[in-house]
C-alpha cells in the first residue's frame, strides 16, 4: 500500500546547511551534501533541499549545489525549493537532479505562472511551499521576503484547485526549531481537504508526528533541525511510529555505496 513519508529537510543559507529557528535565527550545521549523504544512508523517505537566500544571490535555483549532491550518488528522492522563478528554472533544477520542485515566492508574485510549470514537469513534480500562521483564528500566509502575512489569496486557491500542483508543504514557520512547536490548528483550518499536505515546522516528537500522520490528508511529515541532534535520528523516529504505514527503518550493515567490490 502507499506509505506515508518522513522527509528530511536541509535548509541552506550562503551555501551552508543551517538550523533555522522561526525563519529568523540560524545556526551553522555543515555541508549540505554530507547531510544529504547521511540522510540517504539512514533511509529517510525523501530529502527536501530548501535554499532560503536565493533572492540575495540574484534568484534562480542553486544548480551547482544540486549537481554536488547528485555526484555523490544520492539514492533518495530529492525535492528542491528556493529561487524557482520561471518554468526554465524548474526544468533546469530537475535536469540538475531534483525529482520535484517547491515553489514559494513565485506563488505570491504569479501563481498562474507557477501552474505553467506543470506542463513540462507534470503536476506530480510540483509542491506549493506555504509558510502559514494562525492570526485571529484564520490562516495567514507569509511572504518571507517582506515578512508580511496576508490571507490566502484567491488566485492561489484557484491554482491549487486546478490540480496543477500535487502537494502542499504547510510550514508552521513561527514554530520552526521549537520543540513540539507545530500548531495542528494549521491543518484543521486548511480549506482544501482533498489536496495532500506535508506538515513541517516544530515537529520533533513521535507523539506529534503520529498525530499529524494519522490525518488522512497528510501524506508526509518533514523534520529538519531535530534530525541533527542524535545518531540514527530517522530510524529512531520511524521505530517509535510503528503501526503507521511507513517504510521500515534500516540500519545498513555495510556502506553499500562505498563497499569495495
Amino acid at each position: 500500500m502507499l506509505e506515508k513519508r518522513l522527509i528530511g529537510v536541509i535548509t541552506v543559507k550562503d551555501g551552508w546547511a543551517v538550523q533555522s529557528i522561526g525563519y529568523r535565527r540560524h545556526r551553522p550545521l555543515g555541508r549540505p551534501e554530507v547531510i544529504a549523504e547521511n540522510l540517504d544512508r539512514w533511509g529517510v523517505d525523501e530529502i527536501l533541499l530548501q535554499c532560503i537566500d536565493r533572492d540575495a544571490q540574484g534568484g534562480g535555483p542553486d544548480l551547482a549545489l544540486l549537481e554536488r549532491l547528485c555526484r555523490r550518488g544520492l539514492s533518495t528522492p530529492l525535492v528542491y525549493t528556493g529561487g524557482v522563478r520561471s518554468v526554465s528554472d524548474g526544468v533546469r533544477a530537475v535536469q540538475a537532479g531534483a525529482e520535484r520542485i517547491g515553489i514559494d515566492a513565485l506563488l505570491h508574485d504569479d501563481p498562474h505562472l507557477a501552474a505553467e510549470l506543470a506542463e513540462p514537469l507534470g503536476a506530480q513534480a510540483l509542491i506549493a511551499v506555504l509558510p502559514l500562521s494562525v492570526h485571529n483564528g484564520a490562516l495567514a500566509w507569509l511572504d518571507h521576503r517582506s515578512r508580511l502575512s496576508t490571507p490566502l489569496a484567491p488566485a492561489l486557491l484557484d491554482v491549487l484547485a486546478s490540480g496543477a500542483i500535487s502537494e502542499v508543504l504547510l510550514v508552521d514557520w513561527q514554530h520552526e526549531g521549537v520543540h513540539e512547536g507545530f500548531d495542528e490548528r494549521l491543518l484543521a483550518l486548511w480549506p482544501m481537504p482533498t489536496l495532500p499536505l506535508i506538515a513541517f515546522g516544530g515537529l520533533s516528537e513521535p507523539s506529534q508526528l503520529r498525530g499529524v500522520l494519522e490525518r488522512p490528508n497528510v501524506v508526509a511529515a518533514a523534520v529538519g533541525n531535530f534530525l541533527n541532534h542524535r545518531e540514527h535520528a530517522v530510524q529512531r523516529l520511524k521505530q517509535s511510529l510503528a503501526g503507521l504505514p511507513l517504510r521500515a527503518a534500516t540500519h545498513a550493515p555495510l556502506d553499500p555505496a562505498r563497499a569495495w567490490s
Binding site: 551553522p28 554530507v34 541532534h229 540500519h251 545498513a252 569495495w260
Partner: protein, 413 residues
C-alpha cells in the same frame, strides 16, 4: 564568495570553516550560544546528566560503565575527574597514538592513568599506513592531522562496539563552543555525519584512496566508522559533558594543575599554555596550515574563548592574535624527519594550500597576509594578557629532555 563579516563581540568571521551566522546586531551564533553559559541552571542540567547516565551503570561489575577518549592534553584530566570522581562511573579510557607525541604529553597521560587509576587501551596503527595517509591528506587538502582526528574520533566508537560498552563520554562539542552550532539545550550527541563533515573536513577513510594515488583499503580500513547495524545493535551513544557542565577550559585546567598534577608548557604561536601540550605539531605545523587555509589560527580560537568568558576585551584579544599569529613554527624538522620530507618540499606543499582569499604572492616567495585579523578593527596597545587571562607554564614540551617524537614512552617519574 559572500562578503567577509566580522562578529562585533568576538574575533570570528563569516568565513569560519565550521560556518558562522551573524544576527541583526552583528553578534555571531557562537557568542549567542555562549550567553547560555550564564543563563542556564547548571545544577538542573547536572541532574539531567545523572538521570541520563543511570541506565549505563553496570551493576554486575562484569563490564565498564562507559568509554572515555583521552590524550596527554585537551580536557582529558578534567573529563576523567568528572566521570570517575563526580559521577562515580568505572570508565575504560581509550587513546589513539598520533605519533607526534611530546614527552610532556606522555608524562601527562601517565599521570592521568596513575591519579585516576583507570584501565587504558591504546591503538597504534602501523606507521607505514599512517605516513602513507598523511602524505595524501597533506597533498590533497593541506591536512597534516587527518589521521589523528580520524583515529581519535573512531577508535572510541570501534571499541564501544567491540567491547559492547554503548556509552561514550566526550568533553565539549567543538561546533557548539566555537560557532554555536547547537544550543546546550539541544543536547546534541555524537554522529558519524558531524565527524565526516567537520572533524575530517568532509572526507571519510574511503574517500582518501583515488585512482591516481597508491593508498589501498588495507591502509585506511582501521579509520572506517562502524556500520549502522553494529552501532544500532550495541546502542552506541556519544554524550557531550559540555552540554551539562558549564565548560570553561581555562578554569578547568587550572583546577587540574593544582589538584591532579597536570603540567603545561608555553607556545610561540599562542598565549594559552594549557592545551595541546601533548603534540609537537598542533600549535606548530598544523597551526601554520590552518592560517594558510582559513586565514586565522588557534590563537584566535583561544582569544575568542577568553573574550566570551570576559577575561579579555576584544581589543586585547586582537592584540594577542596579532602578536602570535605570524610567529615562526619551530618544529618542522621533526615532521620532515618523521615523514621523510625535505624542508623545501614541505615548504612547497604548505604554499600550495595558501587560500588566495587570505594570501597574495606579491613576488615569488613573498606572501602578503590579508587574513581575518587584518580587517578586525582596533587592537589594544599592550600585547601582554591582563591578569585575568594569564596562563601558567609549569613545564616544557621536552619534559624529560627528549626533543623529538616519542612513539611509546614511560612518562614517569
Amino acid at each position: 564568495m559572500a562578503a567577509l563579516m566580522h562578529c562585533r563581540r568576538c574575533l570570528y568571521t563569516s568565513a569560519h570553516p565550521l560556518g558562522l551566522m551573524l544576527d541583526a546586531e552583528g553578534i555571531c551564533s557562537g557568542c549567542r550560544v555562549h550567553e547560555e553559559k550564564d543563563r542556564l541552571d547548571w545544577a538542573e542540567r547536572w541532574q539531567r546528566l545523572e538521570s541520563l547516565l543511570a541506565p549505563y551503570r553496570s551493576r554486575s561489575g562484569e563490564t565498564y560503565d562507559c568509554i572515555v577518549p583521552v590524550s596527554g592534553a585537551g580536557d582529558s584530566h578534567y573529563i576523567v575527574h568528572l566521570v570517575k570522581q563526580r559521577l562515580g562511573l568505572n570508565p575504560l579510557l581509550v587513546t589513539y597514538n598520533k605519533y607526534f607525541n611530546t614527552s610532556l604529553g606522555i608524562r601527562n597521560l601517565a599521570n592521568l592513568r596513575i591519579r585516576f587509576d583507570c584501565d587504558l587501551i591504546q591503538q597504534n596503527v602501523n606507521p607505514h599506513a599512517v605516513k602513507k595517509i598523511t602524505r595524501a591528506t597533506l597533498r590533497d587538502f593541506g591536512s597534516d592531522y587527518w589521521h589523528c582526528l580520524a583515529g581519535q574520533t573512531v577508535f572510541p566508537v570501534q571499541t564501544a562496539v567491540r567491547y559492547r560498552i554503548p556509552l561514550i563520554l566526550w568533553g565539549a562539542h567543538q561546533g557548539l563552543e566555537q560557532v554555536g552550532m547547537y544550543s546546550h539545550e539541544d543536547e546534541v550527541e555524537m554522529t558519524r555525519r558531524h565527524r565526516q563533515d567537520h572533524d575530517l573536513m568532509g572526507r571519510e577513510a574511503d574517500d582518501l584512496p583515488t585512482m591516481f594515488d597508491t593508498l589501498k583499503e588495507s591502509d585506511i580500513w582501521q579509520y572506517r566508522y562502524p556500520d549502522d547495524a553494529a552501532l544500532s545493535a550495541i546502542g552506541v551513544r556519544g554524550v557531550y559533558l559540555g552540554n551539562y557542565v558549564r565548560w570553561d577550559p581555562k578554569a578547568q585546567h587550572e583546577q587540574m594543575i593544582e589538584r591532579c598534577g597536570y603540567r603545561t608548557a608555553a607556545f610561540a604561536r599562542t598565549f594559552d599554555t594549557y592545551d595541546h601540550v601533548d603534540c609537537w605539531n598542533y600549535m606548530d605545523l598544523h597551526d601554520v596550515l590552518k592560517l594558510h587555509k582559513h586565514g586565522y589560527s588557534k590563537v584566535t580560537d583561544h582569544a575568542c574563548r577568553e573574550i566570551r568568558h570576559g577575561r579579555l576585551t576584544r581589543a586585547q584579544g586582537l592584540a594577542l592574535v596579532r602578536r602570535h599569529e605570524q610567529a615562526a613554527p619551530q618544529h618542522l624538522d621533526k615532521f620532515c624527519e618523521w615523514l621523510g620530507l625535505d624542508r623545501s618540499g614541505l615548504g612547497f606543499l604548505l604554499d600550495r594550500h595558501r587560500n588566495p582569499r587570505w594570501w597574495r604572492e606579491a613576488e615569488t616567495g613573498r606572501w602578503a597576509f590579508a587574513g581575518a585579523s587584518t580587517t578586525a578593527g582596533e587592537a589594544a596597545g599592550v600585547t601582554m594578557p591582563p591578569a585575568s587571562a594569564v596562563f601558567e607554564a609549569n613545564d616544557v614540551l621536552a619534559h624529560d629532555g627528549i626533543d623529538g617524537y616519542i612513539t611509546i614512552g614511560k612518562g614517569h617519574p
